[in-house]
C-alpha cells in the first residue's frame, strides 16, 4: 500500500522490540466477541489509476456549472477564482498543518487568520471578527445563541426573508439547546416590517441583506428599534461579495453579522465545505464562539500572533464554553483571504459592480418575457421572478435544454403553494451575454 512505509521485516523487528509475537497481541484489550476477524466486506486496495477512473466516472455524471449557462445562487455563488488562490492553499505547510496550538510553529496560519479577521471586520463594517465557523447557516444559529447569552433572553425573531436553511438550522438548535424562535412568514418583495415583533423578551431579530429573495434594505431603523428594548440585531449575509457594493451591516447598526464567505476563494463544492463568517462588537467579544487570532509579542519583543481568549472555548471551559465548536473552516478562510488580497479595494468594488451589472442586464431581459414579473425592486446579483406556472417544472424543463436556470422557491418551501411560481435567479461575473441569451430563449419557449 503506497501510503504505508512499514515493510514486513520492519514490522517483525518492531514486534520483537515491543516483546510480543504478533500484531493480534497488540489488540488483546479488545474483547474477543467484538473482534472482526478477516476482511470487512468492501473492495480491496486500488492503485491511483483505478481510483481515479472510478471517481472520474462519478464526476462525469454531474453537470458542472461551468459547462452550461448557469444561474443558481441561493446562498452559494459561482465566481471566478484566480489561479493563484488554489495554488497557494495547496502548499503543504498550509494544507497539512493542524490548528495552531503551538504558535512558534504556526505563525503562518496565525498571521493569515489575523488578516482574515481584519478583512471580515472591514467588509462587514464591524469591530471584530472570529477565525471562521462551519458555514453561514451555523454562524446564524451561533449568532442567535450569542444574542441569547448577551441579553439573557431566549426568544429570537427570524425574518421571513431569511434563507430557509438558516431558519431551519436555528429551529433545530432552538429545539435542543432550549430557546424559542419565531419565524415570520416568507416575505418576497421587501415589504416585511418586523418593528412590531420586537418586545421586551426578544433577544434578537435576525434579518438577511440582500435577503433570500434578493431585496436590499436599510435596517438602521430596525437596529434602533431593537436597541430601544434591549434586543440585538443580527444581520445575515449569504453573498459576501455584495458588501463590495452596498452599505455593510455594521454601518446599519448590526450587533452581530453572520455570513457565508464561500463567494470569495471557494468553489461551490456541492454545498460544502463553505465558510462561516462571524463578526460583532468589541464589547461582546468574550461571548463570541470560535477561535480568535490575536496580536502579541515574543520574549524578544517582536510582534507575533497567538490563538487568544481561549477561556471561551471547549478545550478550556468544557461544559461552560460559549460553543462546542473546535475544527472550523481554516483553509477556506485562507482561500477567502488570498482572493480578497488579490482583489483589494479596487478589484472588490469592480467585481461587485460587474455582478450587479450582470444581474440588472439579465433581469431586464427576463422581465420582458410575457407573463414574467420581476418581484425584486432592489437586488444585487440575485433576484426573484414570478412565473405564470410552477417554477420547479420550468427549472427541470430548462435543465433538459442544458440551462441551469435558478432555484424554484418551492424546493425550499414545499408547503407554501403561494410561492410555487417564484424562481430565484443569480447572475455573477461568470455569466456571459450569450448565456443570458440562451436562458432568455429557453425560458420564453418553456412558457409559450
Amino acid at each position: 500500500m503506497r501510503y504505508l512505509p512499514l515493510t514486513d521485516p520492519d514490522r517483525r523487528e518492531m514486534l520483537a522490540a515491543i516483546g510480543v509475537d504478533s500484531i493480534d497481541a497488540l489488540f488483546a484489550d479488545v474483547p474477543s466477541a467484538a473482534r472482526f476477524d478477516g476482511l470487512i466486506n468492501l473492495p480491496r486496495a486500488m492503485g491511483e489509476i483505478e481510483v481515479e477512473r472510478a471517481m472520474s466516472r462519478m464526476a462525469s455524471r454531474n453537470v458542472a456549472a461551468g459547462s452550461v449557462p448557469f444561474f443558481i445562487g441561493g446562498g452559494a455563488y459561482r465566481h471566478h477564482i484566480p489561479a493563484a488562490v488554489d495554488h497557494l492553499i495547496q502548499r503543504g505547510e498550509f494544507l497539512t498543518s493542524y490548528t495552531p496550538y503551538q504558535p512558534e510553529m504556526a505563525q503562518g496560519t496565525l498571521q493569515y487568520l489575523f488578516e482574515f479577521q481584519t478583512q471580515v471586520a472591514l467588509l462587514t463594517g464591524t469591530e471584530v471578527a472570529n477565525a471562521s465557523l462551519y458555514d453561514g447557516a451555523t454562524a446564524c444559529a451561533e449568532a442567535v445563541m450569542m444574542a441569547n447569552r448577551l441579553t439573557r433572553r431566549r426568544k429570537a425573531v427570524l425574518s421571513g426573508a431569511l434563507h430557509p436553511h438558516y431558519r431551519e438550522v436555528c429551529e433545530t438548535y432552538a429545539r435542543f439547546v432550549g430557546f424559542e424562535v419565531a419565524a415570520a412568514d416568507p416575505a418576497p418583495g421587501g415589504d416585511e416590517d418586523l418593528t412590531g415583533r420586537v418586545g421586551p423578551d426578544t433577544s434578537c431579530i435576525v434579518v438577511q441583506n440582500p435577503d433570500f429573495f434578493g431585496e436590499i434594505r436599510d435596517y438602521s431603523e430596525l437596529a434602533r428599534n431593537c436597541h430601544d428594548v434591549g434586543a440585538l440585531l443580527v444581520v445575515v449575509v449569504t453573498e459576501i461579495l455584495s458588501l463590495g457594493a452596498i452599505v455593510p451591516p455594521g454601518e446599519m447598526g448590526a450587533d452581530i453579522v453572520a455570513a457565508e464567505g464561500q463567494s470569495l476563494g471557494n468553489a461551490l463544492n456541492f454545498g460544502g465545505p463553505h465558510l462561516g463568517l462571524f463578526a460583532s462588537r468589541d464589547k461582546f467579544v468574550r461571548q463570541m464562539p470560535g477561535r480568535l487570532a490575536g496580536q502579541t509579542v515574543d520574549v524578544d519583543g517582536r510582534r507575533g500572533w497567538v490563538l487568544t481568549l481561549s477561556t471561551r472555548e471547549q478545550h478550556i471551559r468544557r461544559e461552560k464554553a460559549t460553543s462546542n465548536i473546535c475544527t472550523n473552516s481554516g483553509l477556506c478562510a485562507l482561500a477567502f483571504t488570498i482572493h480578497l488580497a488579490l482583489l483589494g479595494e479596487t478589484g472588490l468594488t469592480r467585481l461587485a459592480r460587474l455582478n450587479h451589472a450582470a444581474a440588472v442586464s439579465l433581469a431586464e431581459r427576463l422581465e420582458g418575457i410575457p407573463d414574467v414579473r420581476l418581484l425584486s425592486r432592489t437586488f444585487f446579483n440575485e433576484f426573484a421572478l414570478q412565473l405564470p406556472r410552477p417554477a420547479a417544472a420550468i427549472v427541470d424543463a430548462l435543465a433538459e435544454k442544458g440551462v441551469l436556470a435558478g432555484i424554484p422557491v418551492s424546493r425550499l418551501y414545499p408547503s407554501r403553494p403561494e410561492l410555487a411560481g417564484i424562481l430565484l435567479v443569480a447572475a455573477t461575473e461568470t455569466a456571459m451575454s450569450e448565456d443570458m441569451d440562451h436562458f432568455e430563449r429557453a425560458l420564453t419557449e418553456a412558457l409559450s
Binding site: 501510503y3 518492531m14 467484538a34 476482511l39 503551538q102 504556526a106 489575523f114 435542543f176 488570498i338
Partner: protein, 520 residues
Amino acid sequence: MSDWSRAASNRAVEDPAIEVETATGNRGLQIEENLIFEQGSPGRCGVDLVDAAPFPARLGGLERQGAIGLPGLSEPQVVRHFTRLSQKNYAIDTGLYPLGSCTMKHNPRLNEKLARLPGFADIHPLQPASTIQGALALVDTLAHWLKTLTGMPAIALSPGAGAHGELCGIMSIRAALEARGERRSRVLVPESAHGTNPATAAACGYSVDSVSGNLTGRVDVGALKAKLDTDVAALMVTNPNTCGLFENEILEIAAAVHAAGAFFYCDGANFNAIVGRVRPADLGIDCMHLNLHKTFSTPHGGGGPGSGPVALAASLAPYAPLPWLVHGPDGLELIEHKKGEANQAIGRLKGFHGQMGMFARALAYMMSHGADGLRQVAEDAVLNANYLRARLESDLSLSFPGLCMHEVLFDDRFLKEAGITTLDFAKALIDEGYHPMTMYFPLVVHGALLIEPTETESKASLDQFAGMLKTLAAKARSGDAKRFHAAPRWTPRRRLDETAAARKPVLRWRPEAVALQAEE
C-alpha cells in the same frame, strides 16, 4: 544528521559572536513578513477586471459610501506574501506531527486532485437531481463504506466537523428519548474526554456528570454503574480513549448503559486505531461520529474544514438530520424536508447537504486502501505507537503500564526533579525540528504528553524521533534546565506572550493612528 553537521551546529550555539543582528531582521531563510495591510497601495490590483459600462443600478440607494480599507496588491506580491507565511508553518508534509488524538497522517494528493474535478467541485447543491446523480452516487458510496466499517445501519453525513457530529448525535438521542416520552437530564462523560464532549452535552441542555477513571486509565465501571439511573440520557466515551487505551470492559459498559435505558455515544476521534479490525456496532455503541479529517486523511488545513459523519444504530436512525439520501424511482434523491419516513428527523444542522469536498477526499482514501489496507492502517498505527512506547518507557514516565493502542501517554514525573515543565519540554522539541505532542491533555494525568505517530511514519522516522526524545530526557535529567526554559530559539518567533494577548486583545489590524487612539 551526520556527525559533521552536528559538530557545525554545536559550534554555532557555543560561540556568542556568531549571533549577529541582521540589517533586515531576517535570518537566512527566515524572512520577516508584514501584514498585507502594511504592503498595499491604493489603486493596485491583483486581478484584471473590466469596469462595467454605466447602467441603472438597482441597489435602492444603499450604495456603499467611503473606502472599505482593503489594501491593493499585485499578484506577485500576494504569491510571495502567502508563500512566506507558509514557510513559517510546520506541517505533516514537513515532518512527524505527533499530536495525540489528532491523527496527523499523510494527506494523499490524489484526494486533492479528485475533489477538484469540476464534476464535484463545480456543482451547486440546489441543482436539479437529474444533473447531480454522480455526486449523489459518491455520497451513497461513502455512506456504504462508513456503514460497513462501523457495522451501523445508518449514517448522518451533514455535520461539518467532529464537534458538530457530537451535537447531531446527542440531539438524535434526545429526540429518541422524547419520542419515548422521557425527559432525562444528565449525560455521563469520563474525566479523560475531549472538551467538546461536555461542551456538546451542555449545549443540548444536559447537565454533565463526570465519571472517574480507574488505575489502569480506563472508565471505572463501578463508579459508572453507581451513576447510571433513569435520569441518564447517554454516556459519551472515546474508544480507544484519550489515554491511548482500549476500554476493555466496553461490552459490560454498553450493557449497563442499555439496562438503564440510556444511549451509548462513542467519540470516534480515535477510530484510526481500530478501523477494519473492530466494528463499533459490535461494541454495543448506538451512535458515533467519525472525523473524516482524522481517520480518513482529509487535510486539517490549519484548523479545518473537517467533516463529522455520525453512524447511528437502528434505534436512532429515524432521527437523523436532514437531508436524507434515498434510492427513488428516478435514481438517487434527497429528502430535504420532514415528511414520510423522515418525519421524525431532528431537522437541519447545516446549510445544504454536508462537506462534499471532504467526502470526495475520504472516499478516494478508502478506495485506495480497500478493506485490506484499512485494516493495515489500524495495525500499523498501533504498532508504531507501541514501538515508541517500548523505545521510550525507560526514559519518559509512562502513565499506564502495558500495551497501548494508536497513541501513548506519558506524564511529567520524569521532569519533576529538573524544574522543567511539560511546556518547556514540548518547546524544546520545536528546536529539534519536531512538532510537540499533545500537551496537558488528557486531564487525568499531571503534565500529559500524548504521542500519536500514525501509520504513515516509517521505522527510521520513529527511531530518529525516539532518539531525539531520549537525548532531551537525558538533558532534562542532567539538570540542563536553561536550554528548556529558553526554547524555542530557532523559530520565526520565540515564546509568545499569551497572557498579554488575552488581557488586551488586538484581534485585527488598524491603521497606526487609529490603533494609537484606541490605546489612549
